[in-house]
Amino acid sequence: MATVESNPSTERDAALRTVAAEFSQRIAAERAKSRIIRLGPFLVMIFLVIVMSILVPGFFSFINLVSVLQQVATPLVLSMGLTFVLLLGSIDLSLEGVMGFTGSIVALLVLNTKNSLDLGVLGILAAVAAGTLFGLVSGLFHTRLKIPSFMVTFGMGSAITGFGILSYRGIPASIKDPMFAQVASGTFLGIPLLTWFALVVFFIALAIERYTAFGRHVYAIGENESVARAGGINVDRIKVTVFAWSAFCASIAGVFGAIKLNIGEVIISSGFLFSTITAVVVGGTSLVGGSGGVVQSLVGVVIVTIIQDSMILLGVNAYVQPAVQGMIVVAAVALTVARGRKLIFK
């Protein structure tokens, strides 16, 4: 019986320590990557502002900067909702639908050209409530029927667009309520009113994310749902609430759209789903959940808006914008995805 014994004691202990050391190297690498993802987008944003100011004529002018601030309002509000959904590890493809729907019915509830209703602020509240309800229903379908979020929100999004079109039967209502025109053009301290409203939503979202247990639980579910559930967190209730919140934000964006265009039709939301996803992902919130946040999304929205604005100033064909965003988002996801050795993707 030939016995070969390798690794005398001291060599063995030294080697043992190295295996443990290699393991902690992995953790250090993880930490470094997370730091890059947190700081990266912010640096990119600064870099973009500088580059665009130099390369794009008219970018660094008062008029344009105010215009950028105005353009930021709607995507910012949308991203506040989508961020929480992504933190869970899910997705909400119904943003455009909810936004279009709410925009359509708010135009029908306030003073308009199609009917005799004049509900003013109450009309806005009702419209937002209706939109939020759809999100609640999506969340319930997702949690109770165990249908993946992309499918539920895709189906619901299509359905709700249908409801939107149905509400005005092909002829959208024009808004006559003077309050709307005032808000559309109003400013406070030079910054458009709508942008202020968007910032209010931002701060509310920030407070929820950082100062409530709910916010912490969303992160927990995104990172490790089974452990979160085992620890006593009511996962289903939180998921439903997140989808309702996302629809709430999309509804507010719908009202913004109606205010800006003074008309209520579903097309006002066109293109926003994709640009919002791009903004949130580019900002650093991961598609698989558990990391990111609303501050990152704010940065992402600014980045995407700057790029959009610059392309317009440069006279680039408007149809090219989504394609460019598509490439950006693919690059952003590719850079941040966990390159685990044996991860499974669907």
Binding site: G289, G326, V337
Partner: protein, 317 residues
């Protein structure tokens, strides 16, 4: 352990039952529903939808999703219409080649960069929609009337069945063949049912997924060409409502979104069902705006009925 409970048997055969029931109901309301004109219309609308859903079926069986099918249809419709004046009917080859490449791009990004399929195909759909709009300069461009005689062949029918549907059936035959007789077909089911095991079995998971996406692209592009032929136009927005309808066709036919089970045969049934529902709703004079709502709802219900109710521990994101 799954056992064939009565509930399961009913759900499995639901598409057939639904088909019979709906045809019955709609005919009852309006006997012209089964008249030659209506039937021809059903088949001609079904032809492109069928092509497009067939490839999407493979993607869904592998457990992924392709949200770019509509955009590829649009881009292909435009490409066909634009090259037709130059290449005549050979434009179909160009269109299908484009679709194959577009699908391959999806497959590459998905397998190589490891980005979730809904994200890759969502980005792709933005890309191809842009391409379509740019190529056509913003809306639609008709195929010049002098060239229409080149498209005469498309107007033939075998009884009530238009030739385009027969072509679609041939494509169906091809996909069925791939599904049942090729190693790729077996691999698609294996990967969808249990990807980890499929990998350990030595199957090339990446290659399987890649081909599923490529075939989805090709099928979508063929559908786009069909639309262009039928409408004699390059229409960049033709594909917008189509993604939902394609997914509906696959899912209503009985293929679960979770993957591992299903068949293109079911998708054939599903596509016919979708068109029958659409046409039926029209014949019965239901507000067209309700259609989107109906399909959205049907899709959700169909997904629910077909999914593996994997017990308490199933995590759905």
């Amino acid at each position: 352990m799954t056992r064939r409970t009565t509930g399961r048997v009913v759900v499995d055969n639901l598409p057939w039952l639904l088909l019979v029931a709906l045809v019955g109901v709609f005919t009852g309301i309006n006997p012209r529903f089964v008249g030659p004109f209506s039937l021809a219309n059903i088949f001609s609308v079904a032809a492109p939808l069928l092509c497009l859903s067939l490839g999407a079926t493979f993607v869904i069986i592998t457990g992924s999703i392709d949200l770019s099918v509509g955009a590829i249809v649009s881009a292909s419709c435009v490409i066909y219409g634009t090259t037709f004046p130059v290449l005549g009917n050979w434009s179909i080859v160009v269109a299908v080649a484009f679709g194959f490449l577009a699908g391959s791009l999806n497959g590459l990004l998905f397998t190589w960069l490891k980005i979730p399929s809904f994200m890759v195909t969502l980005a792709a759909s933005a890309l191809w929609k842009s391409v379509a709009l740019i190529l056509v300069g913003g809306g639609a461009k008709g195929i010049p009337m002098e060239l229409w005689k080149g498209l005469k062949w498309a107007e033939f029918s075998l009884g009530v069945v238009p030739i385009l549907f027969l072509v679609a059936l041939c494509v169906f035959g091809l996909y069925l063949f791939i599904q049942t007789k090729s190693a790729l077909g077996r691999a698609i089911f294996a990967v969808g049912a249990n990807e980890r095991a499929a990998r350990m079995f030595g199957l090339n998971v990446n290659s399987t997924k890649f081909w599923a996406f490529a075939m989805s692209g090709a099928g979508s592009a063929l559908a786009g060409a069909f639309y262009s032929i039928e409408l004699k136009t390059s229409l960049a927005t033709i594909g917008d409502p189509v993604t939902l309808l394609a997914i509906a066709a696959v899912v209503i036919g009985g293929t679960p979104l979770t993957g591992g089970r299903g068949s293109v045969l079911r998708t054939l049934l599903g596509a016919l069902l979708v068109v029958i529902i659409q046409n039926g709703l029209n014949t019965v004079a239901v507000d067209p705006y309700w259609q989107q709502i109906v399909f959205g709802a049907f899709t959700i219900v169909a997904v629910y009925l077909n999914s593996e109710r994997g017990g308490r521990n199933l995590i759905v994101k």
